[in-house]
């Protein structure tokens, strides 16, 4: 294949991945690596490098819209970024020492988990846990606009959340994904932060987390400009379209179909990993 044929194909695949990733809340990064490796046979290390870069683009590109709505909590984000960035460096360092087949298998399982999480309904009731002294010291409690005024919330189990964030960062650095699903679990389930605040703050954090491992990928030569270019431009344009679509309608059927596609890709990644094909 020549460059003139390869670049548009990769751009197209990335745009679809970005579009569906934004629509389902899975994020484009988690879909693009399996798509590139399974459909085009791209080496998983190149795919991971390109995907990580596109994760920064979608996270930063969407941040402005989220910030305007006033849901994200900059203190929670900044404090937890200590854990995610250290985790990202550990993950990116481990990635170099992990056989590609093992990376594919781990990727498959993380993908299955993300698809499962996104298929569930977001919790409706906000419930706070026991008061946390660390949360008070760090001034993590906040408020957000809800129907009928401003709603206060308090944060709990800060240490557990911090630990989970380290894991989320390590997975992000290992696989070149945003690991938004894991971040939301840490904030929503452990720290009892309201769902909307969790998702928007998580999106805010994804770019910073990814930037921590991007430097390591770059130095190692996993960021190949010829591949990363159509991936980044494709995922970004696709996810911008997808985000706009999301506001217009909640496409339930599409979400379900996509969930099945993602699950099939995940199983393919795991099988190919065990067969030593990746």
């Amino acid at each position: 294949m020549t460059l003139a044929q390869f670049a548009p194909i990769v751009f197209g695949i990335s745009a679809v991945a970005g579009f569906l990733g934004a629509l389902t809340g899975l994020g484009g990064g988690v879909v693009i690596t399996p798509a590139l490796t399974l459909l085009l046979g791209v080496d998983i290390r190149y795919a991971i490098g390109a995907s990580l870069v596109s994760v920064i683009a979608t996270s930063s590109g969407a941040a402005a819209a989220y910030v305007r709505e006033g849901f994200s909590n900059i203190r929670i984000g900044m404090f937890l970024e200590i854990a995610t960035t250290i985790g990202a460096i550990v993950g990116a360092t481990l990635a170099a020492k992990t056989p590609t087949s093992a990376l594919a298998i781990i990727f498959g399982f993380v993908l299955l988990h993300a698809a499962w999480e996104s298929s569930k309904q977001p919790p409706r009731n906000s419930r706070s846990g026991p008061p946390d002294r660390l949360a008070a010291t760090l001034k993590l409690d906040g408020s957000y606009p809800a129907d009928g005024g401003i709603k206060q919330y308090s944060v709990t189990r800060v240490k557990a959340g911090f630990g989970l964030m380290f894991i989320a960062g390590a997975v992000s650095g290992l696989l070149g994904i945003g690991s938004g699903a894991l971040k939301v679990i840490a904030m929503d389930r452990a720290m009892r932060i309201p769902f909307k605040v969790s998702t928007t703050t998580s999106n805010f954090m994804i770019g910073v987390t990814a930037a921590a491992s991007a430097g390591i990928y770059l130095h190692r030569g996993w960021v190949e400009p010829t591949l990363a270019m159509p991936v980044m431009l494709g995922v970004l344009s696709g996810s911008m379209l997808g985000a706009r679509q999301l506001i217009a309608a909640r496409p339930k059927v599409l979400r379900r179909i996509f969930g099945v596609v993602v699950a099939i890709m995940a199983v393919e990644m795991i099988l190919n990993g065990f067969r030593g094909k990746i």
Binding site: T2, L3, Q5, G61, T85, A211, I216, T226, L227, M229
Partner: protein, 124 residues
């Protein structure tokens, strides 16, 4: 700690991120046009892994390659700008927390910034 200050800071940061992404995308796009007009018949396959050439793997290498208008160097420079966008966000937050005299968050933000710079600048 005024909440309205935080809200204004966050809005500024949100816009900063958007401008950074647009700027980086334009640079990547220039590199893409350069590559596809000049070298479009080169073979492209990424099925076997060889680390990207040395020029595209360090800050100084990328800047030098982009300066001599090497197409892939320009793309890589755009990607570096993209990576720099969230780092700039953290740097601006550090200034904002310092202006608010919020000592805890000056320290928290400085730690995050230190980790990011360590990972980007240190040759692993």
């Amino acid at each position: 700690m005024a909440d309205s200050n935080d809200a204004r800071l966050e809005q500024f940061i949100g816009r900063l991120l958007q401008v950074g992404v647009i700027f980086a995308s334009v640079v990547v796009l220039i590199g893409a046009i350069c590559l596809l007009t000049g070298q479009s018949h080169e073979p492209a396959s990424f099925q076997s892994f060889q680390a990207a050439p040395k020029d595209y793997r360090s800050l100084s290498g990328v800047i030098a390659a982009a300066a001599r208008f090497d197409c892939r160097g320009v793309i890589q420079l755009g990607l570096l700008l993209l990576i720099a966008t969230p780092i700039a966000r953290v740097a601006f937050s550090l200034v904002a927390f310092a202006l608010e005299r919020d000592r805890i968050y000056v320290i928290v933000t400085a730690v995050v910034l230190g980790i990011l710079l360590f990972s980007l600048l240190f040759e692993h």
